[in-house]
Amino acid sequence: MGAAGPSRMALADFERRCREVLGSAHCRERGALDLEAGPGVLLDPADETQVAAVLRLAEERDLAVVPRGGGTKLEWGNAPQRVDAVLSTARLSQVLEHAWSDLTVTVEAGCTVENLQRRLAQHRQRLAVDVLWPRTATVGGILSANDSGALRLRYGGLRDLVIGATVVLADGTVAKSGGKVVKNVAGYDIPKLVTGAFGTLGVITRATFRLHPLPHETRTLTIGPASAAEIADIAARIRASPLTPSAVQIRLATGAGAEADVLLEGTTEGVGEQEEEISGLCGAIRAAAGPTHAWQARERLWDQNAEGAIQDPAIVKISVLPTDISIVASILGKIEREYSATWRAVIQAHGLGLVAVRAEGSRIVPLLAALRSAVEERGGSLVILRRPPEARGVDAWGAPGDALPLMRAVKAQLDPRGVLSPGRFVGGI
């Protein structure tokens, strides 16, 4: 695929052919849809067959296609080298089968998370994951971006909840993998391969998940404010105990005390028992009923209208060992002083967190480099999800490690001509 891109003729020909396949209404000019404006089309196929057809057409012409669900995470990662077409899954939005007595659901990739959960709630079940912007984010999108929130502590991430997926490759191959049953070791775990792959290996068109019953009772406790070290210590003690909170989240910010939120779910007896134990663990530090909106803390990092919001921040996802959470807090403190930065962080007890940070002008660039290097030194990682204009050129992903050649080989096998979001992923994949 050359940087020069397709000729105008090739693009026009592609458009024409897509109109034949999808109908003119479903093949339009791209416009400035979440990505930078440019030539190319917005495609919205109705089903898997159409997805396959248009991808095949794109591959034949060496075009670059970016899959799009709700468009909530298009800026995550690096910008693709080129965008000739955006493939929307909006019309693949059905819940195909909710096998509620088996606790599984098969759903098309374009279904929003909220719609899915609403449907599952009819039988008092849920997909046990709390994602950003559930009203807009789609199943395919959350899988491709591997979004996970606070519930991951107890229920695992999407990789642990997805049991089957259908993926359409750039050459139009429609491939099913996994199945409809939770326990299944036949063949390779392709659903895991495409989780977090940012649509660079194929377009997910449907997925099957294992479900959990909605809890009888939920309770939120908020602990603090106190110093970051004290709060991190309490979180560690909760982790080391036999208690099973559904979520433990630590909130930190420039010039504010640290707080932790704990989500308890279960039977009334169980929840009560755990609440007592946790209050006991907190010692002198205050632990009281917390607001349920505590669980929107991650989303609020993006909301520039919220009270005390950081304007035009860089937002990064960090991953560290749980024992390093307090160290992250002190690293952020150091960076704050060194770069005159303001920041706000929401970190889960299992070591994944989001940090929104702002520094003046181009200082954001060395700031991000310093933060990344401090985190990577401890065996962690830092991925850029949102960047202010000054940070445009910074690589989103960080050190790729020695598995990069292998990743390139996988990409080369599944998308040899680099059709899907070229340049968006790790190591320039």
Binding site: D102, K180, Y188, T244, S381, V410, Q413
Partner: protein, 487 residues
């Protein structure tokens, strides 16, 4: 490839990697490796290598890559699908001597082990601080973590705790060309493709894991067990559905039918009630919650017509409940000269219908089938009983076993819940998956193993070669055998 001269040269190279005590070439030593826990398939390897370090594994695979020698990795050889069956004209790489637990980090609940570490020994190492390693296959006293990674092993408690893949955070892998790759890590969500997730369950076809980072879990404060007797498997199956529908997620739900109960009683005398089906439900969690769940489960079982309910009052009693279940497979050998263990999965709700079908098919075939299952996740282990001395019975048993598996597929289930595809079920892969599905998996395989040296004959029914390999053209053994074509 693999001419006698090549092999002699290769053996010299192997010897210089692992030393004279790290390689076996005498027939008496090699024959012991000709099969794993599945004895119907046998093949004698040309040599068995027993490396002690990652560097030695790399050295071995470099030689294999250079000389185009296929290799099969082996742990304890307890697998039931022939995954460790040697490839003719290939070698076996036994990881039995790489058995050290390298790091234990309680604060982060992570452990790093070598592949030859025995599953139960991981729990043994962390039990003192009230942790355990959750995936618990029945062979856990002998099976190794490396084998668990290859098969994505489960166990009775995977209903609540998940399988091996849920507990593997990172891997150090030696690729088939001898190079090293670190997949995943100790921290979560390492940027890049989840190759750890692909590797787990790949049955040794992508490389050899030489270090495995595992997650350990805190022991729940309270564990309780309930034994419930039912008139039939349908009743018991209905009870299982009721329990799940009520929002109780037990740690394990096991079911045994009359024949299996009979055999287990004969072997270990656990004192099981005489009934059509038995449910063994284990519940864990905070104390009050566990007790509430126990009461709920007992009530639900009663509602579904349980004729007798026992709740274990002590750990010893609980162990006794489990004793029979754990002895089930082996004890079946006491009521029948031979048996085939099958492993299939169906959606839980299809259980009663499937059991009726199995009963019908077994009556047709004139053979008995004892049923043991992980009822909580629809994973069944029909034990097809037969007598090899009666002409034709082995064939009939195999056919019955196969038809049961086809039923599983028809119900939207899987051909394997735990034992893997290996050699035994590779033909069935074509029943469960369509051509494009298998093709994608094979493409991923080519990314790891372009020369097709890692356990090359397993999992996939028709080998797919990976296009041109760099360097001088050498025909692949499978090509020469006329088994595969180059794409």
């Amino acid at each position: 490839m693999a001419s006698a001269a090549t092999f002699t040269k290769a053996i010299r190279s192997f010897r210089s990697v692992v030393g004279p005590r790290g390689i076996l070439t005498a027939t008496e030593d090699l024959r012991a490796y000709e099969c794993d826990g599945l004895t119907n398939f046998r093949a004698i390897p040309r040599a068995v290598l027993l490396p002690r370090s990652t560097a030695e594994v790399q050295g071995i695979l470099r030689v294999c890559c250079r000389e185009r020698i296929p290799f099969v990795a082996r742990g304890a050889g307890t697998g039931l699908s022939g995954g460790a069956l040697p490839v003719a004209d290939g070698i076996v790489v036994s990881l039995a001597r790489m058995n050290r637990i390298l790091e234990v980090d309680f604060e982060n609940a992570r452990v790093v082990v070598e592949p030859g570490v025995v599953n139960l020994d991981v729990t043994g190492r962390v039990a003192g601080r009230d942790y355990f390693y959750a995936p618990d296959p029945s062979s856990q006293s002998v099976c190794t973590i490396g084998g668990n990674v290859a098969e994505n092993s489960g166990g009775a408690h995977c209903l609540r705790y998940g399988f091996t893949t849920t507990h593997v955070l990172g891997l150090e892998v030696v690729l088939p060309d001898g190079s090293l790759a670190h997949l995943g890590g100790k921290a979560l969500d390492r940027p890049g493709y989840d190759l750890t997730g692909v590797f787990v369950g790949s049955e040794g076809t992508l490389g050899i894991a030489t270090k495995i980072t595992l997650r350990i879990v805190r022991r729940p404060p309270c564990t309780r067990a309930i034994l419930a007797a039912f008139a039939s498997t349908s009743h018991a199956g209905a009870a299982v559905s009721a329990i799940i529908a009520a929002g109780v997620l037990p740690a394990a739900i096991e079911m045994m039918d009359r024949l299996a109960i009979e055999a287990a009683e004969a072997a270990v005398h656990a004192g099981y009630p005489d009934c059509g089906a038995l449910l063994l439900v284990e519940v864990d969690g905070p104390e009050r919650e566990a007790h509430a769940h126990v009461a709920r489960v007992a009530e639900l079982c009663r509602q579904q017509g349980s004729v007798e309910i026992r709740v274990a009052q002590t750990d010893d009693e609980r162990a006794l409940f489990w004793k029979g279940r754990k002895a089930a497979f082996a004890s079946v050998g006491r009521i029948s000269p031979n048996y085939i263990v099958q492993d299939g999965v169906i959606p839980r709700t299809s259980l009663p219908a499937l059991l009726d079908e199995i009963a019908r098919l077994s009556a047709e075939a004139g053979l008995r089938v004892a049923n043991v299952f992980h009822a909580g996740d629809g994973n069944l282990h029909p034990l097809v009983l037969y007598d090899a001395r009666v002409p034709g019975q082995l064939g009939a048993a195999e056919e019955l076993s196969r038809r049961i598996l086809l039923l599983c597929i028809a119900q939207g289930g899987s051909i394997t819940g735990e034992h893997g595809v290996g050699e035994e079920k590779k033909e069935m892969m074509a029943q469960m998956f369509a051509e494009p599905d298998l093709d994608v998996m094979q493409r991923v395989r080519c990314a790891f193993d372009p020369l097709r040296l890692a356990n090359p004959t397993k999992v996939f029914p028709r080998p797919r070669l990976c296009g041109e390999a760099p360097g001088e053209f050498r025909p692949h053994p499978l090509e020469m055998a006329g088994v595969a074509e180059r794409f």
